[in-house]
Symmetry: C2
């Protein structure tokens, strides 16, 4: 254990001498931004620890990695909830500067949450998440809900305690939404999801038993897919000098500042599009991270505005762009270059990419039915957290929802209530972000078509710069100066996202089914 | 920035309830070991950040990585130097338990150092190291000492200030040695290095202009070298489930607990042995890290006892084992399997691996002359830090030493005084560890031959278990329960390491030169 000398100490030394002639507001701002810069650096370290764990770490590193992550998380919690942070925020409560005022709002939100939830509850939730994941794994192994029952009951109970600790809100569920997608409210989601539920049910009824377009079958070597994937995301605008693409079991993206954004993907030799859509999805997240306003580092503004907006970026590139006919027109010559002798046409791929299928597993669902999977989870979460639905009744309620909305009934827990990892980690309030992302991305599409009349011609030529610029200006570069819903509104005006999503789905998938 | 709930909080909650019925000694021990466990976790994170930087990080990640590392280093310094650590240590000053007493000694040493050096000096040293590295790079680029002069002068001045701040010692240089190899003293090194200097000069004079054995030339594909390297270090006992081997510009090893130890190497298509000896060297470091007593985690004992002992492990495997005839007898069939048609014999490789060459560059030096490179640096450091030698006179003094000891004069600064990165980072007091490692490893050899009479027969069969067990018991598993020199003595008794090193060099290299 050597004695470490870091530039951190320089900052401290600077801070001390610089404070002499400052006003209390200036001092508070300097101290606050130093603390936030520290929290951002530690947050980046957590991201790297997670990335490494899933891509590089030898199996023996597990226990030590757990300790490293909990140590950093614990330090972050202590440094965020410290009383001096509250004092700096109070001093800065009435600042006029829009940057400072947005920073104070963002940091206040995180600080207050860290302060309000008692340490005992934090510890209980951490333990329950660990136990919950283990119980879920055991339940998955047995394909039986029972081993998960008690752990899930504990998690729901603790999350209800957390909601209570966080204090009054328009709706209790808002206290959860707020952690993942600040600015989004239950009052706004319920009617929006209700409308979407009705519209999608109607759409599915119209599709009926129509078998739709054929699938594309074949074999594509993994090395070739890697090369092709890098070429595609590079053309879209993901900067490979400021990021990288690796393999992992479950695709994900981590961002450690705009200069180091890492994507992972899972490629399949017999399913080219399964891998490619996942890669493009992550690149969408990655381009958002690379486009955040790094000039505001240390203010709590140079970060994503929420998971709804984050998903809108991944979904926009994966679906709006990556499942369009224009995209496949550009892609087909690239595939022919990589795999000489390929005979699948752009229409073949377009059909394959836009099939409608009532299926059990969310992560494999098509663009339309995906949202029904989310709405089912949202509605079940509301009932679980209000106490209206007991844990014991959850599997049956799950199956009833699938029968009702998708017309199919899971035959085992693994293809039903046990399929997602989220609840096992106590992640309630997160699922809506996926459908919010789909809604936003459709409105982005139509607003963009109005602003960039040549956009589809450009896509067919592999020219994505104007599209990325549009996103950079209206979304990425705003950072967290506003919350996600405000950024969405500023970008698209009065557009109706439910109408836009249905228009998008009917124009794409619907057309293939003769609707 | 989400609110992180970590098991750290659980530990905290546990700590609070457990303290109730404890004595003050028990409380201090619990608090101290929790703090040290935290520091060990953060130290592991620093290691991962460095490994990632040199193997995986995209170029754009540099600035953010600097902030991450200085943030963690700063937190470590704060948490190590905090007053409560001093209080816990005082409470535990008179404990009888040997584990606790060794822990208190180790942590006291680090804590006192962190407290004694003023924050201003820590900041100045951090800045001077950054500036020094940049100036050194510029000087290397220009192949001119001048651009490095002022930065080096600042670093020497600051290190002298640090020595003064650390307080009285038998020799001022001890305050530097103590940071890298606690227990080693200048009073012990000077006469030992003097003897070695004389013996090696005599040896070189005897070698004279004898051209020695031939080199082995050829081409070996990098993928094949990777497979072969993994096979060799796996056979030696480096656990690949608890570690990995990657490529980097400069080979190094990081350890994050015994379950995650990462080696890097640099392979050359036209120099098989250049890559392999480097890989085995790092595996030697890695097996030490994998063999540390993890049962003592959180006490400051489950760590390496110092850099001298660490280098003894890398040098032992690289040189004592990896340049032996028995090793090449085992290796040749493996090479023939990997590269069918290989015709080089074990004797060819043994000769190639044990040539004596008076050369300019330390990292490329043979086993005997390597120590003269180190002695030159040690002697120059003593003079620089005492003020006897000015920075302006350093290049000339460097060249005079090379002419004197090796009979060659560098023709440019890059092959002379500018070759090592160490001084540019302020690393004075580190170089001796390399030769201490060579000395220790020779005595380990002869003690091991006495304890394991069949050792060389086993090596020729690729059986390294008994050798590794010997090291595990006498060195690795001791951790930092004693300092390096004590561990060495306990392992080899009254052996004379200078005599052992010369016996080893004369028996190997000397024999090839007819001595």
């Amino acid at each position: 254990m050597l004695f470490n000398r870091g530039p951190k100490a320089i900052e401290q030394a600077k801070g001390i001498s610089a404070e002499v002639s400052m006003t209390s507001t200036e001092t508070a701002w300097t101290s606050l931004t130093e603390r936030v810069a520290e929290l951002e650096a530690l947050g980046g370290v957590i991201q790297l620890l997670e990335w490494d764990q899933q891509t590089m770490m030898p199996s023996g590193g597990g226990p030590q990695r757990g300790t490293q992550m909990s140590t950093i998380s614990g330090l972050m919690h202590d440094r965020l909830s410290a009383p001096e942070v509250g004092e700096w925020l109070s001093t800065l409560e009435d600042v006029d500067d829009p940057i400072q005022s947005a920073a104070v709002r963002n940091i206040r939100r995180d600080h207050d949450r860290a302060v309000k939830v008692p340490t005992r509850l934090v510890a209980d939730l951490a333990r329950a998440s660990n136990d919950g994941f283990a119980a879920w794994m055991a339940a998955r192994e047995a394909n039986d809900f029972e081993p998960f029952h008690d752990a899930l009951a504990t998690l729901v109970r603790l999350r209800r305690e957390e909601i209570a600790a966080l204090g009054p809100a328009a709706h209790p569920y808002d206290n959860l939404l707020d952690q993942y997608d600040p600015g989004t409210t239950t009052a706004q989601l319920v009617p929006m999801f209700d409308r979407l539920r009705t519209e999608l049910s109607q759409f599915l009824a119209e599709v009926g038993d129509n078998p739709g377009p054929s699938t594309v079958a074949g074999a594509w070597d993994i090395d070739g897919q890697k090369q092709m994937s890098n070429r595609v995301i590079d053309a879209m605008g993901f900067r490979l000098t400021d990021g990288r693409l690796d393999a992992s079991e479950h695709p994900f993206t981590v961002g450690m500042g705009t200069g180091d954004v890492r994507l992972t993907t899972h490629l399949y030799e017999d399913d080219l599009l399964g891998g490619l859509t996942g890669t493009i999805h992550e690149a969408g997240h990655g381009m958002y991270e690379q486009g955040l306003p790094s000039r505001h580092a240390g203010t709590g503004i140079a970060v994503a505005a929420g998971m709804g907006l984050h998903e809108s970026q991944s979904r926009f590139w994966e679906n709006v762009i990556g499942r369009s006919m224009a995209f496949f027109e550009w892609l087909v010559p690239i595939l022919e270059e990589q795999w000489p002798g390929s005979t699948h046409t752009a229409s073949d791929w377009f059909g394959h990419a836009n099939r409608v299928e009532r299926s059990f597993i969310r992560v494999q669902a098509d663009e339309a039915t995906y949202n029904l999977h989310i709405i089912i989870r949202f509605e079940l979460e509301l009932k679980l957290l209000s106490g209206e639905l007991s844990i014991a009744d959850l599997p049956e309620a799950w199956n009833a929802s699938y029968a009702d909305l998708l017309g199919i009934t899971p035959s085992t827990p693994n293809e039903g209530v046990l399929q997602d990892v989220h609840w096992s980690n106590g992640l309630f309030g997160y699922f809506p972000a996926y459908t919010i992302g789909n809604l936003y991305s459709s409105s982005f599409r139509y607003q963009m078509e109005a602003d960039l009349p040549d956009m589809w011609t450009a896509v067919a030529r592999g020219e994505f710069e104007a599209i990325l610029d549009w996103m950079r200006t209206r979304v990425h570069d705003v950072g967290h100066l506003m919350d996600g819903p405000e950024i969405f509104r500023a970008a698209v005006g009065e557009r109706d996202p439910v109408a836009d999503l249905m228009r998008h789905l009917r124009g794409r998938q619907g057309a293939l089914y003769g609707l």
